[in-house]
């Protein structure tokens, strides 16, 4: 049987329409050998948590550029926990001020990638989490 590929959900929560980063990262992760599902725009935290569970993903990558990260990230993590899916790794990126990063990490976000991060850093982060 072929080995199961690592599955990643790339998610755009809230009302933010800036999806260039989310789409580029989805493409790059796909090219790096991951199975990638992209939610599309304007997904509620509930929709994202439900998709993560029903698609049986290993990780969720959340992109927020609207400044609503302080609400959206913790809410998605809370919903995953409620559904017993706290084994799903949550990482993310966007316009996230340095001061907010420790707060989000304390809420359970594994890593945050801010503007200018090389794609290779994100792929390396996932390779370390999921060694082949």
């Amino acid at each position: 049987m072929a080995e199961r590929k690592i599955r990643i959900l790339i998610a755009k929560p809230g009302l933010d329409g800036h999806d260039r980063g989310a789409k580029v990262i989805a493409r790059a992760l796909r090219d790096a050998g991951y199975e990638v599902i992209y939610t599309g725009l304007r997904q509620s935290p509930e929709q994202i948590a439900a998709a993560a569970v029903s698609e049986d993903v290993d990780a969720v990558g959340i992109s927020v550029l609207s400044g609503a990260h302080g609400y959206l990230f913790p809410r998605i993590i809370e919903l995953l926990r409620e559904q017993g899916a706290d084994d799903i790794l949550v990482f993310g990126g966007g316009i996230i001020p340095d001061a907010d990063i420790p707060v989000l990490k304390a809420a359970g976000v594994a890593e945050l990638f801010t503007p200018g991060t090389p794609l290779a850093d994100i792929i390396n982060f996932l390779r370390e989490r999921y060694p082949e």
Binding site: G14, D16, A28, Y71, P115
Partner: protein, 547 residues
């Protein structure tokens, strides 16, 4: 000596001694000429370049350009509440800004009141929260609406926000025909790049053309749309694609207005455009010139416009947000200066300069002041505004102008074959092209084929950046209280009645909804209430995602 002779002799010898650094490609994927000479320029001066203020407007839309009047310095601004943003506008006007540009928060852009659960976390974050005419009155408190020109970046609910603006002006005693400004009202690029759509394309295009018709009769100094390439460029497309996709959208709007029974010369003069300005200075200058010439040709030849004004591509420019780096943010001041110079050399009518901290947060007062000063230095010290279209006649710029136009025309022909821009968006063609270009660019950054100073080369230890703007956490609660009070203090029976009238008219195809929306606005119906009536009738757009 011909160019070929030079290539075979002097150049060949030099290349024998040492190779060039790399291969040179423009952002629009064609090789950059080593050297342009008269042999590379095939255009006829009179017909293809001509004089400013005359068809085909390659050299600019006015006969005097910046010698008559400088471009409008218009900083896109808005955050938190109407009260806070009103203070920022007054500050910008005191600092010598010459026009206002309103940034709305996402709930406002997507038609939700601040107390809607969907708005949680987003209130006042990327712009100002406007729930009803009340907020618009506060936003312009002490700012004379007959004197200042205002641009509003609002699209899906453009008719509603324009109604709030008109109604608030009436309360200041300013009649609609005195209002000057622009409403973005460009729904097509929301589907292809920006993402703040509400309704499906057909009813959205109806709202767009209803607004055209209303303004044509009532607000003669108002630009009824700002057909925008900016957001598609920000999403990753190239300069040539930016021209093509913007003008293809423009064609779709003109066709929709003609289909609604309007005469081309009654509305085309109030169409405005909006572009990005990037770092590749000469390509950007050529882009603006090519776009201006191509739009004039489209309006004259395809749509048989008779008035010269209908053929003029008047445009706003914003420096490219996506070129700003979070690393070494001071470097962004230099990028913005280069990009602004390109916009001015390209003949823009108004300009927003980004602030150096915008890869990190909304700009602070200090950083926005530096951005405004950048424009003022170009205007008053550089001398480039003293003569018209100074790069015309440059062998390189003219040949690049021709090539960009050719490339854009080829794209427009493909989009025509698909059935126009609306169809191309429904097929995902434009989205796919943008995403593909964005990914190619990112790969070039990864391999350092594309250098980004301070980000993938000339890197320094990260220094924490201070003085960033933060949004008061009390904003949301304050805004919710305000909209609750508005609903409590108005005539609710009248509000219900006017909303029902609007809903009934939305169910028909032929009523102009704009006057009915204005009726709702005047009696303090909220944006969310008006949008919900339209949602119930029109339905909501669901995007097909293209990766």
């Amino acid at each position: 000596m011909s160019k070929q002779q030079w290539t075979d002799t002097a150049l060949a010898k030099a290349l024998e001694r040492g190779k060039e650094r790399k291969s040179f490609t423009s952002t629009s994927d064609f090789p950059v000429e080593r050297l342009s000479t008269p042999e590379d320029v095939h255009t006829d001066y009179e017909t293809a370049i001509g004089y400013p203020g005359q068809y085909p407007f390659t050299r600019g839309v006015q006969p005097t350009m910046y010698r008559g009047k400088l471009w409008t310095m218009r900083q896109y601004a808005g955050f938190s509440t109407a009260e806070e943003s009103n203070r920022r506008y007054k500050y910008l006007l005191e600092q010598g800004q010459t026009g206002l540009s309103v940034a709305f928060d996402l709930p406002t852009q997507i038609g939700y009141d601040s107390d809607d659960p969907v708005a949680t976390g987003e209130i006042g974050r990327v712009g100002v929260a406007i729930d009803s005419m009340k907020d618009m009155e506060i936003l312009f408190d002490g700012i004379p609406m007959d004197k200042v020109s205002t641009s509003m970046t609002i699209n899906a609910p453009a008719a509603i926000l324009l109604a709030f603006y008109i109604a608030a002006a009436e309360k200041q005693g300013v009649p609609p025909d005195k209002l000057q400004g622009t409403i973005q009202n460009d729904i097509l690029k929301e589907y292809s790049a920006r993402g703040t759509y509400i309704f499906p394309p057909a009813p959205s295009m109806r709202l767009v053309t209803n607004l055209f018709a209303y303004c044509s009769a009532n607000t003669p100094q108002w630009n009824t749309i700002s057909i925008s390439g900016y957001h598609m460029r920000e999403a990753g497309c190239t300069a040539a694609q930016e021209i093509a996709f913007t003008l293809a959208d423009g064609i779709a709007y003109v066709e929709a207005a003609l289909k609604a029974g309007m005469d081309v010369d009654d509305f085309a003069g109030r169409l405005a455009f909006f572009y990005a300005s990037h770092n590749n200075l000469l390509e950007e200058v050529a882009k603006f010139r090519a776009a201006r010439r191509l739009w004039a040709k489209i309006m004259k030849e395809r749509f048989r416009a008779r008035k010269e004004r209908s053929m003029m591509m008047r445009f706003h420019t914003q420096t490219a947000g996506c070129t700003l780096t979070a690393q070494q943010p001071d470097n962004n001041i230099v990028r913005v200066a280069v990009q602004s110079l390109a916009a001015v050399l390209g003949g823009t009518q108004s300009l927003h300069t980004n602030s150096k901290d915008e890869a990190l947060a909304l700009p602070s007062e200090e950083t926005v002041r530096i951005a405004l000063r950048t424009q003022q230095i170009i205007a008053c010290e550089s001398g480039v505004a003293d003569t018209i279209d100074p790069l015309a006649g440059s062998y390189y710029v003219e040949s690049l102008t021709d090539r960009l136009q050719e490339k854009a025309e080829a794209y427009i022909a493909r989009i025509d074959d698909m059935g126009g821009a609306v169809k191309a968006i429904e097929l995902g063609f434009i989205q796919r092209e943008i995403t593909e270009s964005a990914y190619e660019y990112q790969k070039a950054v990864e391999t350092k084929e594309q250098v980004v100073v301070g980000q993938n080369q000339f890197i320094m230890e990260k220094v924490p950046v201070g003085g960033l703007l933060t949004i008061d956490p009390e904003t949301a609660a304050f805004q919710v209280r305000k909209v609750t009070d508005v609903r409590k203090n108005r005539d609710n029976a009248a509000a219900r009645e006017k909303l029902a009238v609007l809903r009934a008219a939305a169910a028909t195809d032929d009523t102009n909804l704009m006057p009915l929306i204005l009726d709702c606005a005047r009696i303090y119906c909220t944006e969310g209430e008006i949008c919900n009536e339209l949602r119930a009738e029109f339905g909501e757009y669901r995007a097909t995602e293209v990766l």
